[in-house]
Amino acid sequence: MSAQIWTYLLVGFTFFIYILIAIVARAGSTKEFYVAGGGVNPIANGMATAADWMSAASFLSMAGLIAFMGFSGGQYLMGWTGGYVLLALLLAPYLRKFGKFTVPDFIGERYYSKNARLVALICALFVSFTYVVGQMKGVGVAFARFLNVPFDTGVLIGIGIVFFYAVLGGMKGITYTQVAQFCVLIFAFTVPAIFISLQMTGNPVPQIGFGSKGNDGVFLLEKLNQLSVDLGFDAYTSVNKDNLVNMFFITGALMFGTAGLPHVIVRFFTVPRVKDARISAGWALLFIAILYTTAPAVAVFARTNLINTLSNAKYEDAPSWFKNWEKTGLLTFEDKNNDGKIQYVADANLNELKVDQDIIVLANPEIANLSPWVIGLVVAGGLAAALSTAAGLLLVISTSISHDLLKNYLRPDISEKGELYAARIAIAVAVVAAGLAGLNPPGFVAQVVALAFGLAASSFFPAIILGIFDKRMNREGAISGMIIGILFTASYIIHFKPQLGGTGIPDDFWWGISPEGIGTLGMLINFVVAISVSRLTTKPPKDVQELTESIRTPRGSITPKNSLH
């Protein structure tokens, strides 16, 4: 059977399963719609969190990004996993004990302020919307390749599918669908990696394989370093010294941003107990780590294969995958010196080959000549990754609108049924809006994702941490910290992003920190401002201090044994 037929079969089969689960586990109450009834098993929740977290970008783009960055790519690997340590140790257990539905819930009650809730709500909406637009783009790329349709049509098909399944599901349906999607995506990511690792190094474990010797007896990494240097690139594993401060800050911004993203935090409201929230974060990271430790191996395999197959190859002899991807415009060849051969070198004036990092994972099985069913599997996996993340984000958007805005701000008297109805309408509107935004400005979208992490790191992360660990923290401190943190981070990013209309140039970066990393500084500023202001203003009310104490212990408030309680 051809790759095309396998793709249809596998994608069709997995979609059938998702829809089946979404129908069986559909939500009946607001508690089920928002937090899946609060009774999800920690391992299942770990899988769902992992699927929610690993987006189209993790699945499709990350390995490619690393393949072209080498050592510095570690900032994404560490940045997008290290945040879970912060979540498990500093946030998840306490927020679970707090026991409400959303991040604005926590901010609003801990800081006894409707305005604080509103600031949190706007941040949550902005961050989630930015993110979901990126997912729609991922769905578009995967569908475009799979159905051989233009990108726009791919996005439209994606809108249709997500629409059906997110509106129906709610958190309950989404959680159980995500468990299935996790299995599909992790299988789809690791299977080709295992085959390629076997093929290139004889070792079935990619994580070990990419440090092993290749078939010619040379260590794979040494060979890749040599190939890279020969073509004028930096050695793959060598440290880029000029970029170290920036790498430090980017890694930090991604970690603190992860721990401040509303769609990640809300996952820990869905488990029954505080100890489940802790272990659930552990399971989630374990499942995420399977993909995140495989990705750098895939990156090394793909980069080596790419150079070996294409460098100085005759264009007319280029393999069929090369021609297929050329049609999508994501891979281009321009024969500058008219010798009919592909020159792939570091020097931009001589380089003739441009490969979009987004296609590395999708093209990898073809580059390595794997069976057609593996290609179909990868497409199904990419779609699972995009759909699961999109659904999780859409849920946060709809919750923000129906619960935080409508129920807690505009119309507190709304009925449970009315709130559920509003949540479904909000999700439907969000799907369509995100899809339309995904159609238009691809460059713009990629840039604002940096903004999403930066804002999460500089606003939510300090506000939540201080709300738990600093009993003295009050409304004035938290709000001024959040506002100054956000304003600083957003202005820096906008100033230095030409895609956002900024006029700054990289030479003017503060200490060489690029916009992707500035969230770390914004976070530090937030902490300093919040702590200073809180110490100069009045203490928080007594009941809020008691709330802070009570979330610090898993069960009740601590009372001596044999007391009347």
Binding site: I66, F71, G73, G74, Q75, L77, M78, T81, G82, Y84, V85, A88, L89, L90, P93, Q207, I208, G211, S212, K213, F219, L220, L221, T237, S238, V239, K241, L244, M247, F248, T251, G252, M255, R273, V274, K275, R278, I279, A281, G282, L285, L286, A289, Y292, T293, P296, E549, R552, T553, P554, R555, G556, S557, I558, T559, P560, K561
Partner: protein, 84 residues
């Protein structure tokens, strides 16, 4: 806060300080700041600094969380705040 709750919280903070130091050490120091020096050492085919940035820190993160879960479950029982 009662005496007991205070000592529970103190032990928790001690665990956090230790585990987060390790978190910082393997990623920001081994994986970034000292990566170049560590790259002189080669382990199982990997330059060590590169290995920490692309593999080692992630494994450490997973272990850290499970160690914290283990420690806190024990602590919860000791202070009788364990949930059944």
């Amino acid at each position: 806060m009662s005496k007991k709750a205070q000592s529970y919280w103190k032990v928790n903070l001690k665990y956090l300080a230790i585990l987060l130091s390790i978190w910082f050490l393997v990623s920001f120091l081994f994986g970034i700041a000292f990566a170049e020096s560590l790259n002189q050492f080669n382990i199982a085919g990997f330059p060590l600094g590169f290995w920490f940035a692309h593999q080692g820190s992630i494994y450490t993160f997973v272990i850290l969380i499970f160690v914290y879960v283990y420690l806190m479950n024990k602590l919860d029982k000791k202070f009788d705040v364990y949930e059944n």
